[in-house]
Amino acid sequence: MMSQRLLSVENLTIALPSAGDRVNAVEGLSFNLNPGEILCIVGESGSGKSMTASAIMGLLPDAGVKVQSGRILFRGEDLLQMSDERFRTIRGSRIGMIFQEPMTALNPVMQVGDQIEEVLEAHGIPKADRPGRVLSLLNAVGLPEPAALARRYPFRLSGGQRQRVVIAMALALEPEILIADEPTTALDVTTQAQILELIRGIQRSQGMGVIFITHDFGVVADIADRVAVMQHGRIVEIGPAREVLDQPADAYTQSLIRAVPQFREKPLPPSPEAEPVVRVRGLNKTYVTQGGFFTPVREFKALDDISFDIRRGETVGLVGESGSGKSTAGRCLVRLIDPNGGSIEYKNTDLAKLSRSQLRPFRSKIQIVFQDPYASLNPRHTVGQSIMAGPLAHGIDAKTARERMNRLLIRVGLDEAAADRFPHEFSGGQRQRIGIARALAVEPDLLVADEAVSALDVSVQAQVLELLRDIREEFQLAMLFITHDLRIASQLCHRVLVLHKGRVVESGETTSVFRNPRDSYTRSLIDAVPGREWHHSPGGDSTTRSFA
């Protein structure tokens, strides 16, 4: 085994530019990759996992990032000492790579078939053989009608199809090693499952070594033979997947795994109050693209007859894949988007029918927390200004607003000094707390959380979820929780609605929906959840896991 070692990283240290917040991106890193093996490198953002991949490919960003010491041996040959010319014959043809965002990896103005041919051409495949190879590659990555698809431009493909094309390009030369850097993170869960299946299948059939970089332990559980867990540029634990997942030795690994959301076993106690805070009936939203002289008017139904109630203290989950209309529904509720039809009844007032000015007194009653902690705070306002803006807009005097802000800052786990600082001085999780404080500052009855934890690292995610759960209890908030992640929904929500193409395909008490899905789409969503086996799926037998 040791003798056929495909890749061996020895004592690798990569220095960051001096201005960075730590000296080395990667420090004293050592691991091996054997043929026919999938090694997952898992870690949170900033752990150095992507930098490791870039170093192997010789694609480190120029600005001050450089390898300080160590070796990267590919079949016994040190890639770091290799001439650029020699490296070029290896990169692409013997070591392939796929990236997180397939759109940026493709040339938008070139047909996908031509792009794959270009790769073949660069590595000296005779012209006559190329079209045949392109078709068989597209076929191999499971794309339908390869001949027609080869003539399409990237923008006409779906995200999953694009990632398949990228994989086809990486596989074009039958590399010995495939490096995949978060290749499924931007994809929907069902697509992710398919792509993981594809990579696994190709790896098996070709006997490649795969380095798979991810932040998701579910993905690790589904795909990995071995796992390396990284923290702050170091490997804290490495070993066979089952061992690391089920009996993690390192405390950090343990905490990470503990933070991974799981399907909840028991239903939450139902909310006592019977009268709903908000009653949504028959909500519709149709987007109409403006027709020009030559383009016909096109309609797109984003929401089709959505109805639900939310009671005080209750959380309703809205789950679905991208394009299902879940965010549109959330924004209709806070009237950032005007619905075309239906009613949003709040305290006997139909908010859907109110004009912008009539709506203003009601604005404070329904608040929203957004996904992107970086975009959701005004970079030029201090945290205090951002939190106090709402109360001030609703006529609350500055002193009361300030007191409320200080109280909320402490409540969401920050201190009062944060008020005078600017958003860029905070981490993503802290910003999300600030966003929650801002929403709470106007004392809403209903909080819409639109993928509020999706952009966060798993350990931070768990903390923010905890905060949301606490404030729900404390303020007896009604909450509409929008997410693509069924595990998180099951953690927090009393009831869920599964959205597919703008329609509610299934709804009901959370554990019963996930355990006994009646709709085939719901079922496919649940099946696609990564690491389902490991998580012991809600419908299956529960195998207990214990942590040391």
Binding site: R360, F370, Y374, S376, P379, H381, A389, A393, R438, A439
Partner: protein, 280 residues
């Protein structure tokens, strides 16, 4: 902002530019002290070459007027026209662009058609015609330059507003029930100021050039000494008295160059930050 200023001063081009511009501002401000006599006063012998008489270091013109005094007083006109007309253009452009970008729809369509209409007219000719119609004075020149320069600002601000309007912090402000005025002025506007500031600094330079060109063509304010006027008036005697057009020409070139250096420095300092902000 202080750190920005510091970074700006570390850029050698911008630092030189700022130093020279400060010098020009000081000379302009102190012109009545440095040259108590009116720049129009026929103080010396006509056609006195430079560096011959210490009283008139840069020589005199065809009517015996001190070139150095003319440059000092001309700096006031150039700076006033450059800054005030740019301020007008920015106020107009930000207002219209902001409304178009924030409200979109019909307001956007209407305002952008107006903007395009203005953009189809060659700006210099348009400014010239306006000055001619309004009769030449410093006010009409400022107005004319302001009116022809706002469309690019409006387009820039509109694009910024349209993109910032969709940003989540603005959406949050809407959801919080903040008024449109408050959202436009407090939430969005401060975030558009960096590119506007950069554009504005370059517009000052082009306004100075436009004023010089208008004055050169004899449509300047006949009661204000300006650099363009000095060149225009001495153009016909350029073979006899090179210095009469050379010095004001040199000053225009230098000032415009310096403003451009500062503008580019500002761009380097302010805009990467804006670009970084966009990333999640």
């Amino acid at each position: 902002m202080n750190s920005n200023l510091w970074r700006l001063l570390k850029d050698p081009g911008a630092a030189i530019g700022i130093a020279l511009l400060v010098a020009v501002v000081v000379v302009a401000a102190l012109a009545p002290v440095l040259y108590p006599q009116d720049p129009w006063s026929m103080a010396g012998r006509p056609f006195l070459p430079p560096f011959t008489d210490p009283q008139f270091p840069l020589g005199t013109d065809m009517m015996g007027r001190d070139i150095a005094a003319g440059l000092a007083y001309g700096a006031r006109v150039s700076l006033i026209v450059g800054i005030v007309s740019t301020a007008c253009a920015i106020v107009l452009g930000v207002t219209l662009g902001g409304i178009a970008g924030y409200y979109g729809g019909l307001a956007d369509d209407a305002l952008m058609r107006v903007t395009e209409f203005f953009q189809t007219i060659p700006t210099f000719i348009f400014a010239l015609v306006m000055v001619a119609i309004l009769s030449p004075s410093i006010l009409s020149i400022i107005l004319a330059i302001g009116i022809v320069s706002w469309p690019p600002v409006a387009r820039l601000v509109r694009a910024e507003f349209a993109s910032l309007r969709g940003r989540e912090f603005v959406q949050a402000a809407i959801a919080l029930g903040e008024s449109d005025r408050h959202i436009i002025l407090r939430q969005i506007l401060p975030n558009t100021l960096s590119p506007v500031l950069v554009m504005g600094s370059l517009m000052v330079a082009s306004a100075i050039l436009t004023e010089a060109a208008i004055s050169f063509l004899g449509l300047g304010d006949p009661n204000m000494m300006s650099w363009g006027y000095m060149i225009g008036a001495s153009r016909t005697v350029i073979r006899q008295a090179w210095w009469m057009s050379f010095f004001p020409g040199l000053v225009i070139v230098l000032v415009v160059l310096m403003i451009n250096l500062v503008g580019e420095g500002l761009n380097d300092v302010l805009n990467p930050r804006l670009a970084r902000k966009g990333r999640a």
